[in-house]
Point group: none
Chain length 111, copies 2
């Protein structure tokens, strides 16, 4: 897994990060909240950790994961030069999202 972007390409990993954005969580907490099998959670956390997106704290048998911001700031930095292209009409995003699939917004968009 080369870059921050390819790490974020996976929907489950983005979900994990969004969850961890609220507060740190143990593996089993993530497993329950996101309803995904434990090996899958561990594997995605491994990828996220290798890419620097999360770090783990050991608490007895648990590993509590929390976000590291550096890779996210990388993404932010890559995005920065494009921001001038839309700074001015901010509501274009809302129109776009509304057009996509309003009823089933929680998962990724379909093709």
């Amino acid at each position: 897994m080369e870059s921050a972007f390819s790490t974020l390409a996976e929907p489950n990993r983005r979900a994990i990060l969004s969850l961890l954005a609220q507060s740190e969580r143990s593996v089993s907490e993530i497993e329950q909240r996101l309803r995904m099998p434990q090996p899958s959670v561990s594997k995605h956390l491994r990828v996220l950790r290798d890419a620097g997106f999360v770090e783990a704290r050991v608490d007895a048998q648990r590993r509590v994961y929390r976000i590291r911001t550096e890779p996210l700031m990388e993404v932010e930095a890559w995005l920065a030069p494009f921001r001038r292209l839309w700074s001015g009409h901010v509501d274009a995003l809302e129109r776009h999202l509304d057009r996509m699939d309003a009823p089933t917004r929680k998962k990724g968009k379909k093709k």
Copy 2:
């Protein structure tokens, strides 16, 4: 290719977008500037177009591609909730840190 993020996972595609951020370009211009084979450029442009990142204008035999901002704004929107984790705004973490070493910190924000 499901999401905006998986589209951005490819380095060549990010390079194309960065190039198009400066100005619109024809396929052959992209091919020359990025030194990648023409079929590769066309294929990546196809993916970018399907994901809404670019659109093409026809100019005789040329297709001139330019950026569309909506998917980039999607990324920006996904990133937004994380920004508080590193921004200079006053949130709980920041107040906590301020309490720990108040004397050396200035109160203004960075920008």
